[in-house]
Symmetry: C2
Subunit: 392 residues, 2 copies
C-alpha cells in the first residue's frame, strides 16, 4: 500500500534508498510494491516514486554505474555530437543503423540503447532485443515513442523507457504562435493579393486579447499557453481531465473539465488540441464540438490525429461553420492523396513536422547527456520515464 | 539657457508651475526660453521639458481647462466609442468628415482636434485651419503624422501635435514575429506541398537562438526585440545613431553605431528595419548592405519604405543573395502595379497594414481619453509630443 517514505519501516526500501543515493523529498508517496519491482527491474539502480503534485510516477533513482550505450542511428548525424563529451563511467559500444552489422558480444555488453530519430528503432530494436540480456534502459531522442512499443519491449518490466518529451515543446510553441498569426494576419489574403498585384490595405487582427482554449492541458499545452499569455496577452481557458490540478497555475484564466467541453469551446477564438490519444479522447473533436465553436474560431491540432474526426472537420471548414484550422497531425499518416483536407483553402497543413527541427534534435542529445551524467553520478533522473502501459 | 528647475529664480517659470500644477522631477533640465514659448503657446497650459534620460523634449504641462474637441472622423466609427466617457471640463463640439458641414462658430470654439484615421485629416485640416483661432492641440489617432504636416500647421508654434505612437507597437510586434516565422517554417513550401498533395516532412527552423538585428532601435524596434528575446530567446543586435544610449538596456546583446552597419549585418539571421526616414537613412539598405548579409538572412521593413532601395532589394532577392524579405512599407505607396516586388516568391508583401487593427484604433482613442483626463486634471501629458520640425 501507499505510505509516506519518511515513516516507512520497510527495510528493503531503506536499503534501496541507501544504495541509490536517493534523497527523501516532501510530497512524495511511495507504492512499496512498485518500488520493489523497480529495485528488481534495474538491478537496484532505479526506483519509482508517486509525485503528489503532478500525480505521476517519476523515476527517482539511477541506472547502474558502467553505462554501455548502443546508439541506434547514423554515424554522420550531427545531432549526436554532444555524445563526444561522455562522462567517466559511460561509453559507447557502437553507433549503427544496420542491426546485422552489430556483433553479438557488443549487443550482450550494452546496458543502454539511444534510439535516435534516424535509427529506425521500430524496425531495428525488435531484431536485436532478445540478444541484449543486460539492457535496462532505452532512451528515445524523440518525444513520441509509439513506434518503439513492440510487445516484447512494452511488457518487459526490466527495461525502463525514457524520452525527450519536453525538449520539443519550444518548437511546438513556435508552430502554434505561427499558425494563430497565419489566420490573424490573413496570410492567404496577403498572398492572393500579391499574386494579383492588388494593393488592399485591409484590417488585420491581433492575437492579443483573443481567447486561446487548450484541450489537453499538459506539458505541451501549458507551454503554448504560457507564451500566448506572456508574450501576446491572450486569455487562456484550459480543459483537462482533472481541472483542480491547474487551479491558480498562473497561466490559465479558467479551467474546465471534459464534461464542459462545449461550454468552453463557445468562448474560444483559437482552440488548441494538445491531448494524447486515449480511448476517452478518440474523436473528441466531432461534429458536435465544431458546432459548439464560434464561426470565427480557428482549430489547431498538434496532439494526435485521431483526437479529431477529420470528416467532421472537413464539413466544418467547407461549410464555414468555423473559420479555419491548422493540422500537424492526422488520423492516418502520411495523409492519403485522396483526403479532402488537401484542397481546403482555410486549412494550414503541415506533415507532422512542427517539431522537426535540427536545433531540438541536438538539444535532445544534450538532454540525454545530462541524464547519463546524472545516472553515473548516482543522482535521480527526474521526470522523464515513460509509462509503457499507457504509451506516453 | 538651461538650468535646473529647482534652482530657478525665474519668476514666470514659478508662476507657470503654480498655474499648471506642475511637479518638479529629477533629471529634468529646462530651457527657459522654450518654457516661455510654451507658456504663450498654450495660454499657460503647457510647457516643454528636456528629459535628460531620453534626450527628448516632452510635454509636461496641460491643456487649458474647458477642452472643446472637434473630431475629424466618421460618426459611425466604433473606435471613437471611448470618447463617450469624456471627463468634466472636456466636450465634443462636432464629429465630422466633411469640413464644409462644420459651422464657423464651431470651428472658432474648438481648442483641440482629434484626427481620426477616417478623418482624411491631410485634406480636411488645411481647409479649416485658418478658421480656428483657439486651436492649441491636434492629436492624431495614428502613429504616422506625415499626412498632417502641411506648412501652415508645421510652422505654427502655438499648436501642439501629439500622436498615438506606441499604441500601435504591439501590432507591429505581432507582424514581425509572424514574418520571421513565415520564413522559419517555410510557409511557401508548406502551401506548395499542400497544393500538390505532397507529404514532405522537411526540417523546419526555429527563430529561437537566431540573431535578430534591429536597425533603428527606437520605441518600435525595441518592443519587437523585447518579445523576440523574452518569448523566443533570440539574440538581439541593435544599431542606432548613439549606441551608448542602449548600453545595458537588458534587451540588446550588442549595440552598434551607423558606421558599423556592414559588420553588424553579417551577424544577423533576421534584419529588422524600424528606422524613421531622414536624410541619413534614405537608401540605407542599398546593394552594399544586402551584400553584407548572409545568404540565409531575411530582411524585414516596417519603418519607412525609402530607407530601403527597392531596386537593390529586388536584385538581392532574385539572385538569392539573401533568403527572403517581408515588406510592409514601400518607396511609393500604393506600390505600383509595375513593381517587380509583386512577383518575387521569397517576398512577403503587406500593404502597410501591419498596424491596421481595430483593436489598436480603439486603444488609440482610449489613449487620447487618458490624455484628455490628464489635461483637464492639470497633470503632465507625458512623452507624446511630436517634434513637428523633425516630423516624428
Amino acid at each position: 500500500g501507499k505510505r509516506v517514505f519518511q515513516r516507512s519501516r520497510n527495510a528493503p526500501l531503506r536499503s534501496l534508498m541507501a544504495r541509490t543515493g536517493f534523497r527523501v523529498q516532501r510530497n512524495l508517496l511511495f507504492a512499496s510494491s512498485l518500488v520493489r519491482k523497480a529495485g528488481i527491474r534495474t538491478g537496484g539502480g532505479c526506483c519509482l516514486a508517486f509525485l503528489r503534485s503532478s500525480r505521476r510516477f517519476v523515476a527517482m533513482g539511477t541506472q547502474p554505474a558502467g553505462l554501455s550505450i548502443l546508439v541506434l542511428g547514423d554515424k554522420n548525424d550531427t545531432s549526436l555530437e554532444p555524445l563526444k563529451q561522455l562522462p567517466d563511467g559511460a561509453s559507447i559500444v557502437a553507433v549503427e543503423n544496420n542491426p546485422d552489422s552489430i556483433e553479438d558480444s557488443v549487443l550482450e555488453r550494452a546496458t543502454c540503447v539511444y534510439a535516435s530519430c534516424k535509427g529506425k528503432v521500430g524496425v531495428n530494436l525488435p531484431k536485436i532485443y532478445s540478444k541484449m540480456p543486460n539492457l535496462t534502459w532505452v532512451h528515445s531522442q524523440t518525444a513520441g515513442v509509439d513506434t518503439i512499443m513492440f510487445p516484447e519491449f512494452a511488457n518487459d518490466e526490466k527495461v525502463t523507457l525514457t524520452n525527450a518529451k519536453s525538449v520539443y515543446n519550444k518548437s511546438l510553441v513556435e508552430y502554434v504562435i505561427f499558425a494563430m498569426m497565419y489566420f490573424a494576419k490573413d496570410c492567404q489574403r496577403l498572398l492572393r493579393n500579391q499574386r494579383n498585384r492588388t494593393w488592399d490595405a485591409f484590417f488585420i487582427e491581433m492575437i492579443r486579447h483573443k481567447t486561446l482554449g487548450v484541450v489537453g492541458y499538459g506539458d505541451i499545452g501549458r507551454d503554448c499557453a504560457r507564451t500566448a499569455k506572456q508574450a501576446f496577452n491572450m486569455k487562456i481557458v484550459a480543459l483537462r481531465r482533472r481541472p483542480s490540478l491547474s487551479d491558480g497555475d498562473g497561466i490559465a484564466d479558467e479551467v474546465y473539465g471534459p464534461d464542459q467541453l462545449h461550454e468552453m469551446l463557445g468562448k474560444c477564438d483559437y482552440v488548441l488540441c494538445a491531448a494524447p490519444l486515449t480511448r476517452a479522447t478518440k474523436h473528441f473533436f466531432n461534429a458536435d464540438a465544431f458546432s459548439a465553436m464560434k464561426k470565427s474560431t480557428v482549430f489547431l491540432n498538434i496532439g494526435r490525429g485521431p483526437v479529431c474526426q477529420e470528416a467532421a472537420l472537413v464539413d466544418a471548414l467547407a461549410s464555414g461553420a468555423i473559420r479555419g484550422a491548422a493540422l500537424d497531425v492526422f488520423e492516418k499518416e502520411p495523409l492519403s492523396k485522396e483526403s479532402k483536407l488537401w484542397e481546403l483553402e482555410n486549412l494550414l497543413l503541415s506533415p507532422h513536422n512542427a517539431d522537426l527541427t535540427e536545433l531540438c534534435r541536438v538539444e535532445a542529445t544534450e538532454h540525454f547527456l545530462e541524464l547519463i551524467q546524472k545516472s553515473v553520478a548516482g543522482e535521480p533522473l527526474g521526470n522523464v520515464i515513460v509509462d509503457k502501459k499507457a504509451g506516453y
